[in-house]
Every structure is written in structure tokens, then in C-alpha cells.
């Protein structure tokens, strides 16, 4: 595949113009045309074998039925028909949506925090940045361990704190709904710092003269925030929104590690990706899992396209 490309004497588009050398440099020397291939070959081969081909294969699997011994036979759209009638699809989709909505609540919080962090001359800004960013770089399975205990119904510190104000907290990680919400709170906690830093970078690009002019006009801080900061920050907010939705739709690590694989409530609190994992790698139903993967792919694609469509209505462009 690579060698055949060296043969045709392609016109030297880059070479001779700048070089102006003696005759031999006219027209590409053999190694001149081979070089780019040597550069891209390892990566392209790896991507083709481990990513592109698997994508094609998964799409194919989704139209096959996996037999009890792992063999597959063509099954048309049977997997998709079964999947769309499967209550577990809607259950896991609902949980994923609930998770996503809760994590998205972090974006307005991050906008507020980022604008505080960006106040000119604020001391300890570097310390705040590090502390807010810490959860984002920490291993999800490792932080999940402490959150399991924080959410523990009997001795968790959360329910004890709630008891102080007279609320009896549920058994968070063993109650459906509450379990998803608890995992989402951790998801919010771990992504907040990232959103905040991206938004703070966006704030830096707002010209300070705008605030000075507003100040002269007697605009209050709140008014400045609403009339200058938020509109000019919408491109960054949009970016954070896209990234957060894509990541939230693929939640797995936190859910798996906080709830625990043997948790009886897991089947009712699972996310789409957990559903995929269970069908594909626990139940070993390759065809069905492939169909789930394709549906996740489609859903994320649709959601992202929808956001780009709606973007024109609210994202400021200049």
C-alpha cells in the first residue's frame, strides 16, 4: 500500500521552487516521496487496526446475533428492534440524563467561580486554581472510595450533617435515583475545576475597557456581569457545555466504583455505558452490546448536532 505511492512521478510541488539547486533536485527523489509515508505509517497502521476497523466491525456486529458459544449469525435489525423494546435501555438512558443534568448544574457555578477567580489582583488565585482542579486529575476509582463512605447511610458524614439540621438522609448508594444523584454530585465535583479553568481563560479575552466604560456609566457589578461578562463568555460556555455533555453521556468509572459491581441497586441505577459493558463483557452478548454502542454513538452525535444548531440563538459571535 505504501510502496505503490512512491512510483508515480508526481510533480514536485514544494521541492524545486525554494531550492533552486542543481539538476538532481528536479523532480522528487525516491526517498523524497517515501518520507511522508514513513512518518505516518506507524500511527496510521495502529489507528486502522485498533480504531477504524473495530468501528466498522462493531457496526457489523450490531446486525448479528451472538450464539451461546460466541458464534454470530446475521440477524438484520433484530438487535435494534429488541433494544428499542427493552425497558433497560430507557432506564439507563433516564439515569444517564439525570446524571448529565446534575453535572451541568456545575456550569453556572463555574461561571461564577471563574469570574471571582479572575478579579484583578486577587491573591492566592494560584492556590484556588490548584485546589479546584485537584478532583479533575485524581483517579476516579480512588476518590470513589472516600465518596462511598461519605454517602454511607449509617455512618456517612453527609447523613450526619443532614441529621444536624433535622433531615434524615437516605441510604444514598443503595436507593435507586438517590444513587444516580450521588454519583452525579461526585461527577460535578470532579469536573467543576476543569470548567472553571476553561471559563477563566475565556474571561481573560474580554477587553477590560468594556468594564471601565461600564463603571463610568455607573453600572453595578451585577449589571456588568450580566451585560458584559456572560454574553462575551458564551463561546467558552458553549465549549464547556459540549465537552460536559459528551463526557457525561459516557459516565462509567464513577458509577462502577462508587456503587460497586455487586451492589443490588446497580441494575436500576446503571448508565448507558454500564448497560453496554454488562451486555458486552459480563453477559457476552456481542451483537446486542454493539447495538447499544451504536445507539450511544447516535445519541451523542444527535445531542451535539442539536447543540450546534441551538448555539446560534444564544452564543455571542463577533
Amino acid at each position: 500500500m505504501t510502496t505503490s505511492q512512491t512510483a508515480p512521478p508526481a510533480p514536485a510541488r514544494t521541492g524545486s521552487a525554494g531550492r533552486g539547486g542543481p539538476a538532481p533536485s528536479r523532480g522528487p527523489r525516491p526517498e523524497h516521496t517515501l518520507w511522508p509515508w514513513l512518518f505516518v505509517a506507524p500511527l496510521v497502521a495502529g489507528i486502522a487496526v485498533f480504531y477504524l476497523w473495530p468501528i466498522v466491525q462493531t457496526a457489523g456486529y450490531s446486525f448479528t446475533e451472538t450464539g451461546p458459544f460466541g458464534g454470530s449469525t446475521f440477524a438484520g435489525v433484530d438487535n435494534y428492534v429488541a433494544l428499542f423494546q427493552d425497558p433497560e435501555l430507557y432506564l439507563s438512558l433516564g439515569n444517564t440524563l439525570l446524571y448529565t443534568v446534575i453535572v451541568l448544574l456545575g456550569i453556572p457555578i463555574a461561571v461564577g467561580l471563574a469570574s471571582l477567580l479572575n478579579l484583578p489582583g486577587l491573591r492566592f488565585a494560584a492556590v484556588y486554581r490548584v485546589l479546584f482542579f485537584l478532583p479533575y486529575v485524581a483517579m476516579p476509582t480512588a476518590v470513589a472510595m472516600v465518596w462511598r463512605v461519605i454517602f454511607n447511610g449509617d455512618f456517612g458524614i453527609l447523613n450526619r450533617a443532614l441529621a444536624v439540621v433535622g433531615i434524615e438522609g437516605p441510604y444514598w448508594i443503595s436507593t435507586p435515583g438517590a444513587a444516580t444523584a450521588a454519583v452525579a454530585v461526585v461527577g460535578l465535583w470532579s469536573s467543576l475545576g476543569f470548567s472553571m479553568i476553561v471559563l477563566a481563560a475565556g474571561l481573560k479575552s474580554i477587553p477590560p475597557e468594556l468594564y471601565e466604560a461600564a463603571e463610568l456609566d455607573g453600572a453595578t457589578r451585577w449589571r456588568q456581569f450580566r451585560a458584559i461578562t456572560v454574553p462575551l463568555l458564551t463561546p467558552s460556555i458553549f465549549f464547556v457545555l459540549i465537552i460536559t455533555v459528551i463526557a457525561s453521556f459516557q459516565v462509567f468509572d464513577l458509577l462502577y466504583a462508587i456503587l460497586g459491581s455487586s451492589n443490588p441497586v446497580l441494575p436500576r441505577s446503571m448508565s448507558l455505558v454500564y448497560f453496554f459493558y454488562r451486555e458486552g463483557f459480563v453477559a457476552n452478548d456481542k451483537g446486542y452490546a454493539a447495538a447499544i454502542a451504536m445507539v450511544i454513538f447516535l445519541l451523542i452525535g444527535l445531542l451535539t448536532a442539536l447543540q450546534f444548531r441551538l448555539q446560534r440563538r444564544w452564543v455571542h459571535s463577533d
Binding site: A10, R19, H32, W35, P36, F39, V40, P42, L43, G46, I47, A48, F50, Y51, L52, W53, P54, Q57, T58, Y61, L113, G121, A126, Y128, R129, V130, L131, F132, F133, L134, P135, V137, A138, M139, P140, T141, A142, M145, V146, F155, W189, G193, I197, R221, F239, I246, F249, Q250, Y256, A257, V273, Y277, F281, K286, I292, M294, I296, F297, I300, G301
Partner: protein
């Protein structure tokens, strides 16, 4: 006039410190709580009356970690997998990124389009087949199986291509006149210029590789073959959970990356924020 402005600014800083300080406490609390629990007894962690500070610091919980789980093997796996993936991604992605950015060849647009199309596909879509490939190569439960697909990265290629695109032509031209071959130009001149972006690629790869759970969970079944992320996730399946030891193990597992983060904080934060991905 300016006095009034600075006065107002300073006044609002009190509120900013209050909010950001309180927020920082909330963000850091789980880590502190984990540290406290790791030094307590199991009875103290589960006691009905809250224990905010253990009566005695039980450092031996950390020694216990090595008896409870194959921690050293898992640490070794994590280190090996992360180092191999990072080196491979730097090598393959810089080479390909450079060629895609600065060399002309037939099929460049198509190949680049194919590579970048991966970025739009969630990982579940290729996971099943990746598993089958690793299985058919007989690489389940091995370092080879853990690292293989992650040696190649479409995101890294995209990142490096962007970096090489923005570089000036002059140096390349001068080196070409001196008779340097394309690899020498890449290796001696262009790659050193791209060092900041290589650092971003290294940081994102280390973080992703160290922390990821799904792939190791899929390709390993024996705990001594797992990296730390999967090892921890399966540790808690046990009925009798010894919380202090689990907390100690978690902190030890996170420590290398957290230390790296604190040492390189600016670079990590800015790099991740600009790359937009984990």
C-alpha cells in the same frame, strides 16, 4: 476616581475569598477526609458517633495495603503501561502530526480525515473489537494487552499537527539547504520547537492512562495483572471492607499523579484546559 474603583475592587475581594475559600474547602475535603480515615481504625470509621480525628494515628494501615492486595505488582503495571503509552504516543503522534502538517503527499487529506474521524466516535464503539483483537493475539491479562490500543492516539495526532502547523518555514528551509534529510529536520529542528505541546500530550496521556478504568477492567481478570485503577475497583467487592486500608490504598494509588500535578500545576492546568480533553 481610580481610588473609588480600587476601593470597590478590594471590597469585593473579601466576598471572592470567602466564596473561593469555602469552595476550595469543599473540593479538598474528600482528600482530607480520606487521609484521616486512612489513619483511623475500622471501628472509628464506622462508629455511630462521629470521630473527626483518630485517637491514635494508625500508620500501619499503609503497611497493611501491601498484604491485602498485590499493590506493588499493580503499581508496576500502572507505571509500565503509562510509560509505554506515553513514549509511544509521543513518538507516533509527533511523527504523523509533523507529516500531516508540513509534508505534501498523496492521500494526505483522506488519511488525516480518517484519523480525525475517530475523535467523534465514543470509545464504546471500538471497545468490543479491540477486546477481540487482544484476545485473539493471546494478550489478555498482559501488559501488551493493556497498552496496545492506547499506543496510538488520534487526539495526540490532532494536537501535534496543530502545533506543527503554526511553525515558521524558515528554519526548515535553511536545514534543507544544508542537506538535512526530512527525519533530521524533524528530529533536530522541529521537534524541539514543539516541546511545549509534547509536554501537553505527555500530561494528558499520563493522566488518562493512569486513571482509566474500563479498558483494564475488560482485558484483565487476575488482580496481580491489573493496574491500580482496576485493582482498587475490584478490591471493594469484598464483603468485609476494611475502610482504613482501602483509603490508604486509594491515596497511595493517586499519589504519583497528584504529586506530578502539584509540581507542574501551571503546565497541567493550562495544558488540559487548552486541549479540552482528559
Amino acid at each position: 476616581m481610580t481610588d473609588r474603583v480600587t476601593h470597590r475592587r478590594r471590597g469585593s475581594h473579601v466576598v471572592a475569598h470567602l466564596v473561593l475559600g469555602l469552595g476550595s474547602l469543599v473540593m479538598a475535603f474528600p482528600f482530607v477526609w480520606q487521609l484521616i480515615m486512612s489513619l483511623s481504625t475500622n471501628a472509628e470509621v464506622q462508629s455511630v458517633t462521629p470521630v473527626f480525628w483518630p485517637s491514635e494515628l494508625h500508620w500501619e494501615n499503609y503497611a497493611e495495603v501491601f498484604d491485602r492486595m498485590p499493590f506493588l505488582q499493580q503499581l508496576g503495571n500502572s507505571v509500565l503501561v503509562t510509560v509505554l503509552r506515553t513514549l509511544a504516543q509521543i513518538l507516533f503522534c509527533t511523527l504523523a502530526g509533523y507529516a500531516f502538517a508540513r509534508m505534501r503527499f498523496r492521500g494526505r487529506g483522506v488519511l488525516l480525515g480518517l484519523v480525525l474521524s475517530i475523535l467523534m466516535v465514543p470509545s464504546q464503539v471500538y471497545l468490543l473489537s479491540q477486546y477481540q483483537i487482544i484476545q485473539s493475539l493471546g494478550l489478555l491479562d498482559s501488559v501488551g494487552g493493556l497498552v496496545l490500543p492506547g499506543l496510538f492516539s488520534a487526539f495526540g495526532t490532532f494536537l501535534m499537527r496543530t502545533a506543527f502547523l503554526s511553525m515558521p518555514n524558515e528554519l526548515e528551509e535553511a536545514a534543507r539547504l544544508d542537506g538535512a534529510n526530512p527525519f533530521q529536520i524533524f528530529w533536530k529542528i522541529m521537534l524541539p520547537l514543539a516541546r511545549p505541546t509534547v509536554a501537553v500530550l505527555a500530561i494528558t496521556t499520563v493522566l488518562w492512562s493512569w486513571n482509566e478504568l474500563l479498558w483494564p477492567l475488560v482485558v484483565t481478570t487476575y488482580s496481580e495483572r491489573m493496574p491500580l485503577s482496576a485493582g482498587l475497583a475490584t478490591l471493594i467487592g469484598d464483603r468485609t471492607t476494611d475502610y482504613p486500608v482501602v483509603m490508604a490504598a486509594s491515596l497511595l494509588a493517586m499519589a504519583p499523579v497528584l504529586v506530578m500535578f502539584v509540581l507542574l500545576q501551571r503546565r497541567v492546568i493550562d495544558g488540559l484546559a487548552s486541549s479540552g480533553l482528559k
